[in-house]
Symmetry: C2
Subunit: 455 residues, 2 copies
C-alpha cells in the first residue's frame, strides 16, 4: 500500500496517544509507538509535556531508542541521555551513523563518554574518535565516512558488480574516484553509472568538477554551497585533497533550519534548541536572565528621564508624549537590524557593499523621520493646544523623532557588523543594544529639546 | 581539477567585479560573469546596489538569463522580468524546468503572460498550463513532471537498457512504477537498480511503502515530511493515487529557508522576499506603513497615560518609572509569542497540547513577575525615598509588574492560535497586538494603582 501523509492524521495520532496514556492503556500505546517511524516518535516526544514525554519514552522499545534520539531536539535528547546508564546508552546507540553518533557523544560529560566508548567495538571507537576531531559546526563535523571509492582505471561493469556485492550506504547518490594516495579525482553519480555503457572506463565518465568541501569549512557556509548549487551530497577533503568523507543534504537541511531559526529565537533572547514544553522552573530560570538584562537597559532609560524631572513637573504633557519617540525609533531600527542580520546570514551583506547599504538605510530613515515628525508634530500641536505650549511641544517631538529615527536606523545598520567583528552574536545582543540606544536617545532628545524651550 | 569552495574567494570576486564595473571594464566583467555558475551570478546580483545590479544584468549573456532568473529572489526577479519584452522573456525562459517556469510565469501580469505563452512551443505551453493548475504553495506547485515510470512486470535489465537509451533527468534518485492507469505502485531507487540482479523483476524489488504526497498538500507540510523522513524526492499523486510528478529536495530546501525566514522578517514587519538592496524610495514607502501602524498603537498607549495626567502632576516620579512595566511585559510576552510561533510552524504546538502550554507559560510569567516585582519594588523604594511616597510607589510598580507580565505572557501564548483561526499571520501581526496590550496594561496598571494611592 502506498501511504499518503496527512497532517490531520498526525494530529489525531497525538490526540489518540494522549487519551490512551491518560486512561493507562500502556500496552496499546507501546504498540502504536513501535509502529511509528522513529522520526515521528521524536516529533511526538517533542510535542508532549514533560510527564507524558517521560511516560512515552519508557514505552519505546530499547532497540529503537538510538534512532529516536538521533531525531530529537538537542535539549530533550540530552535530558534522556542524562537519565540513561552508560551501558544502556551504548546499546541504544549501536547502529547509528557515525556523524549522528559523534553528535550525541560529543555532548556527553567526560566520564559517561569514556564509559560509553569502552563498551563499543574497536572499529566503531576509532571511527568516532576520527569524527570527533572536527568541531560539530564544520564540514568535518557534518560528514559521514561511509563513502564508496573506486580507482580511475576500472570499467563501469566492474564497479557495478562490486556495488552489487557490497551494497550502497543510505542516501548515496555518487561514488568517488581516488588515486592510490586517497586523493580525490572526481565523482561518478549513480545516474552516470546507470546510463554509461558497461565497458566504459571510470576515468572517462567521472565528473572532475565536483564541488568539494574542505573539512574545516563552517557549517553555515556548507549550507550556502548546498543551497546555491542544488547539491544532494558533496565530498569532504583535507588540505591535501585527500577524501575524508561526504556530506548529504539531509544533514544540511538541519543546519539550514537551525540557522534560520537561530536569528528568530535569539532576537527574543531564546535559543533555537529550546524545548517548547520544558518544565516551568527551567523555563522561568532561563527567561529571567533575559528579563534581567532588559530591566537594566530600561533602568538606564528611566535615569535619563530622571534628569529632566523638573521639566516634566512644569509640562506634564511630556509624560504623555514620552513613549512615542523611543517606540518609533526602536521599530525603525529593528527593521534595519533584522534586514542586515538576514542579509549577513545569506552572505548578501559584505564589507564591499555595506557602505552603500548604510547610506541607503540612512536615506530611508530620514524620509520616514521627516514624514512621521510632521504627522506627530501636527497631532501634538492640536492635541495639547489647551496647554498654550503646544507649538513648542510639537517642535520638540518632531525634532526628537527625526534624530531618533536616524540614530536608530544607523545603529541597526552598523551594529551587526560591529558586533560580528568582536565575535558577539548580532541576533542575540543586537536588539537589546539597539533599543537601549533608541530609548536613551528618544527620551533625551524629546525632554532635552523641551527643557531648552521651557526651562 | 577539483574545485574547493572558498567564501573568501567569493567576497573577493564581488570586490573585483565592483572595481571592474567602476572603472568601466565592461568586457572584462562580461567575461567574468559568464564564467560563473548561474546561482553565483544570481547571488552577486542580490548583493549589489541597484545601479551596479542593472549594469551587471545587461552584461549577462541572453541565453543564461533564464537560469539566473530562476535563482533570483522574487522581488529582484520581478523587477528584471518587468523590464523585458515578452519575446525576449520567452527566449530567456526556454529550457527551464517546468516547475521553475511556472513560478516565474505565475507572477506575470495577464497580458505579458499570454504573450510569453504565445511564443512557446505547444508542448511547453500544455505543460505549463498543467503546472499552473496547482497553487504555487502546494505540492502540485512544487512538483516537476519529468518522472521516469516503468511497468511492474519488466526486468531490471530491461529498465537499465531503457535508461541508458533515454537518460535520466537531473536529480533523479528514484524511478516510479505505475500500472496501466498511471496509478502509483511504488518506487525503485537508483541504488536498488544498481544493486539488484539484472534478471530480477521490478515488482519484486520495488518499494511499495514510498512516502507519497498528495498534490494539494501545503508546501510547509511537504517541507516537514521531507525533513522528518530525510527524503531526497517524493512522488506526487492526485486523489486517485495517479502519479502526477515528483518533488525534489532542492525545491524543498527553498521552502524551508523561506518559511523559517518568514517568521523572522514578519516580526519586524518585513517580507522574506524583500530585497536588501532595494532603492531608497521603495524601501521608505514599505517601512512607512509599518511605522504608521506602530504610531497608532503607541498613540493608544499615550492616551492611556493621558487619563492619569492629574496623578502624574502630583507624583512626577511616575513619569520616570513609567517605561519599566510596559517594557518588561513586552519582553516577556514576546518571548512566549516567539516560542509559540516557532512551535506552531514546527508542528509541535497543536490544539491537544496548547492548554498545557498556556498553563506552563502562565506559571513561568508568575514566577518572573513576582521576582522582578520584588526587585523593581525594592529599587523604587530606595530610589524615591526622598519623595516620602516611595513605599506606595514601590507597591504600585510591583503590582503592575506582576499583572503586566502575566497578561503579556497570556497574550503571547494565546494570540498565535487565535490569529491563525482567523487566517491572520501571527508572525506579522502578533508582535504589534502584543506590545499594544502590554503598553496599555502596563501604563494603566502602574498609573491606576498610583491614582488609587495618591489621588
Amino acid at each position: 500500500m502506498v501511504e499518503t501523509y496527512e497532517q490531520e492524521q498526525n494530529v489525531d495520532k497525538i490526540q489518540q496517544l494522549n487519551e490512551a496514556l491518560d486512561s493507562g492503556m500502556f500496552v496499546h500505546v507501546r504498540m502504536m509507538l513501535n509502529d511509528m517511524p522513529p522520526s515521528d516518535v521524536a516529533h511526538l516526544l517533542e510535542s508532549s509535556p514533560p510527564r507524558a514525554r517521560n511516560l512515552l519514552w519508557k514505552l519505546v522499545n530499547v532497540e529503537r531508542e538510538g534512532d529516536i534520539l538521533n531525531y530529537l531536539n538537542d535539549e530533550i535528547r540530552n535530558n534522556f541521555v542524562d537519565q540513561m546508564a552508560p551501558q544502556q546508552l551504548a546499546q541504544a546507540l549501536e547502529g547509528l551513523e557515525i556523524d549522528d553518533l559523534a553528535d550525541i557523544l560529543g555532548e556527553l560529560p567526560e566520564s559517561v563518554y569514556l564509559e560509553v566508548m569502552a563498551s563499543m567495538s574497536d572499529q566503531d571507537r576509532h571511527r568516532i574518535e576520527a569524527a570527533l576531531v572536527f568541531p560539530e559546526d564544520t564540514a568535518g563535523g557534518l560528514m559521514n565516512i561511509d563513502t564508496i571509492t573506486v580507482r580511475p582505471k576500472v570499467t563501469i561493469d566492474v564497479v557495478l558488480r562490486y556495488l552489487r556485492m557490497k551494497g550502497l550506504p543510505d542516501s548515496t547518490d555518487s561514488i568517488y574516484v581516488v588515486d592510490t594516495r586517497d586523493r580525490l579525482l572526481g565523482a561518478v553519480s549513480l545516474a552516470t553509472l546507470i546510463t554509461s555503457r558497461p565497458e566504459s572506463i571510470v576515468e572517462d565518465v567521472l565528473n572532475g568538477e565536483v564541488e568539494t568541501i574542505n573539512a574545516s569549512t563552517p557549517a553555515n557556509e556548507v549550507a550556502q554551497i548546498f543551497e546555491r548549487r542544488d547539491l544532494l551530497s558533496a565530498p569532504v577533503t583535507d588540505d591535501e585533497n585527500r577524501l575524508l568523507g561526504r556530506i548529504t543534504i539531509d544533514d544540511v537541511v538541519d543546519v539550514i533550519r537551525e540557522e534560520a531559526e537561530h536569528s528568530l529565537m535569539s532576537m527574543a533572547g531564546l535559543d533555537e534548541t529550546d524545548d517548547t514544553f520544558a518544565p516551568v522552573w527551567s523555563s522561568a530560570k532561563r527567561r529571567a536572565i533575559w528579563l534581567g538584562i532588559n530591566l537594566l537597559t530600561v533602568l538606564v532609560a528611566a535615569q535619563v528621564i530622571g534628569l529632566f524631572e523638573e521639566t516634566i513637573k512644569i509640562v506634564t504633557a511630556l509624560a504623555i508624549l514620552q513613549p512615542i519617540v523611543p517606540s518609533m525609533g526602536g521599530v525603525a531600527g529593528t527593521q534595519t537590524l533584522t534586514l542586515v542580520i538576514r542579509g549577513m546570514s545569506l552572505g548578501h551583506v559584505v564589507a564591499g557593499n555595506s557602505r552603500w547599504l548604510i547610506m541607503k538605510e540612512l536615506g530611508v530613515s530620514l524620509i520616514n523621520g521627516l514624514l512621521w515628525a510632521l504627522c506627530v508634530g501636527t497631532l501634538t500641536y492640536f492635541w495639547f493646544s489647551y496647554t498654550g505650549q503646544s507649538l513648542l511641544l510639537a517642535i520638540a517631538i518632531a525634532g526628537a523623532m527625526v534624530v531618533n529615527l536616524v540614530v536608530g536606523v544607523f545603529a541597526g545598520a552598523t551594529l551587526p557588523m560591529t558586533l560580528k567583528k568582536f565575535n558577539i552574536d548580532p541576533a542575540l545582543s543586537g536588539g537589546v543594544i539597539l533599543t537601549t540606544i533608541t530609548d536613551v536617545v528618544g527620551f533625551f532628545t524629546l525632554l532635552g529639546f523641551a527643557t531648552l524651550f521651557f526651562a
